[in-house]
């Protein structure tokens, strides 16, 4: 291992110092102004999408294989469980049909404004969070598939997060556990409003509970629809622990094991305009949802 010549070492030191300074400037700019890097982020995400997709395939294939083996081993027990579940669902189907007819009649009577139509696409997760300070994933669907900023990302179990950047063929989802995620929610049952605040831990906390009302372990948390970014009633999680005034929520969705996500368009796209266009109009560079949500970390 020969040492670097002295002159080369001096150049090396100067260039390293300049690059470190450039990185520090980027950190400061990125923290204070999210818009500066947004278009660059989207371009890089689009450009890297094929490579990320390629890298994610072996892991996805292993996951599918492991799941198949697991299902094969548990087929008898699973059959019994499904038979029981089928019985329960047949009963619930009848209840749902009755409620649906009743709901239709009540809407007719009260002249309720119909809710906007809902559509969704399913996308595969192609990159994970990649570190302890960011909780976001990238999916292999973008604007050309109808994905837009502000749309909800769900699994079959519940809310995962929302789209914060939509490129042409890839999009980034800010998870509800991210330090910068704030989701207006209600405690189902008591109807008390609160904000679900991520802090990079596995269980986001409930803050600003309406009237400081009591929240109990096991309470169901759903979106409130306040601010118009997400529709009301999306399942989020269960209160898993209450320590003094702080309640922790266990998300329904298994966030560390996301493979496919449903990106749902509830027809609320206008609620969250692109900050790039807001900035271009000379508007204030904040999340313009009006919901009090802070902008995602950039």
């Amino acid at each position: 291992m020969p040492l670097l010549p002295a002159r080369r070492a001096a150049i090396e030191r100067i260039s390293t110092a300049l690059l470190v300074a450039a990185s520090a400037v980027m950190i400061l700019i990125g923290k204070t102004d999210q818009v500066v890097f947004q278009s660059l982020r989207i371009s890089v995400m689009d450009a890297a999408a094929p490579a990320l997709e390629l890298m994610s395939r072996p892991a996805a294939a292993l996951d599918v294989a492991a799941e198949r083996v697991h299902r094969f081993l548990a087929v008898y027990r699973e059959n019994l469980r499904l038979a029981e579940e089928n019985q329960r669902l047949l009963v619930l189907e009848q209840v749902a049909l009755r409620l649906s007819v009743e709901n239709e009649q009540l809407r007719e009577l009260s002249k309720l404004v119909p809710e906007p139509g809902t559509s969704f696409i399913t996308a595969r997760v192609i990159s994970d969070t990649g570190g302890p300070y960011a909780r976001s994933v990238t999916v292999n669907a973008g604007r050309e598939n109808g994905v837009a900023r502000g749309q909800a990302a769900m699994t079959a179990s519940g809310l995962v997060g929302r789209v914060v950047e939509a490129g042409r063929r890839a999009a980034r989802i800010l998870l509800i556990t991210d330090l910068n995620s704030r989701v207006p929610v209600i405690v189902d049952g008591s109807r008390e409003r609160a904000i679900l605040a991520g802090d990079n831990s596995a269980r986001p906390s409930l803050r600003y509970v309406d009237g400081g009302g009591a929240v109990r372990v096991g309470d169901r948390i759903v979106t409130s629809g306040q601010g118009g970014v997400l529709p009301p009633g999306l399942p989020v999680g269960l209160v898993a622990g209450v320590d003094g005034e702080a309640a922790r929520v266990e998300p329904y969705a298994v966030l560390p094991r996301l493979d496919y996500l449903r990106i749902v368009d509830y027809g609320l796209g206008d609620a969250l305009p692109d900050p790039l266009s807001v900035a271009a109009r000379g508007g204030k560079r904040t999340d313009a949802s009006g919901s009090g949500l802070p902008p995602p970390r950039h």
Binding site: T16, L19, A22, M45, S127, T129, G131, S136, D199
Partner: protein, 159 residues
């Protein structure tokens, strides 16, 4: 072709660091393969792993993960500067000594990032995630370093 090996492996390391592995805790505590590759190549082939390449790779990784742009590049550049500043020390060192040295570098990098994020978010962030990530990075270092060494011998030869 062999001259591009350090940069190519660092790009692959960057992609591996963010690939979805679907193993419960791995996403939050994924080892920093990029840091391992940076440490390795700065010791054995510093001329083939220039600071500018680390800057670009780190920045792209941050842009892809949604992290603060610049946080990974500053970590990689400081790691490189640290290793270069006492490169003489690494000559003929045993692997356990290098492993211990890399552990110090990883602890330093993780603590620096934790302090930076705590400062910028004006709150003391939890240490469990970064601590497990440090342990994961240190644990996989021998395997990754061995693989990089074998690839280096095959394609470039020893320095």
């Amino acid at each position: 072709m062999g001259n591009l090996l350090p940069i190519a492996t660092m790009v692959v390391a960057g992609l591996l660091s963010i690939a979805p592995l679907h193993i419960g805790w791995v996403a939050a505590v994924a080892p920093s393969f990029t840091l391992i590759a940076t440490y390795h190549w700065t010791i054995y082939q510093p001329a083939l792993s220039p600071g500018l390449a680390l800057f670009v790779i780190g920045t792209v990784q941050d842009l892809l993960t949604g992290g603060l742009p610049g946080e990974t590049s500053v970590t990689l550049l400081l790691c490189r500067a640290f290793v270069l500043s006492h490169r003489r020390y690494y000559a003929d060192r045993q692997f356990p000594v290098m492993w211990a040295d890399f552990s110090l570098v990883t602890f330093g990098a993780a603590f620096g990032l934790w302090a930076l994020h705590s400062l910028l978010s004006a709150q003391i962030l939890e240490l469990r995630g970064p601590a497990v990530s440090v342990l994961a990075t240190i644990s996989v270092f021998p395997i990754v370093s061995f693989l990089l060494g074998r690839t280096q011998r095959m394609l470039i030869g020893t320095d």
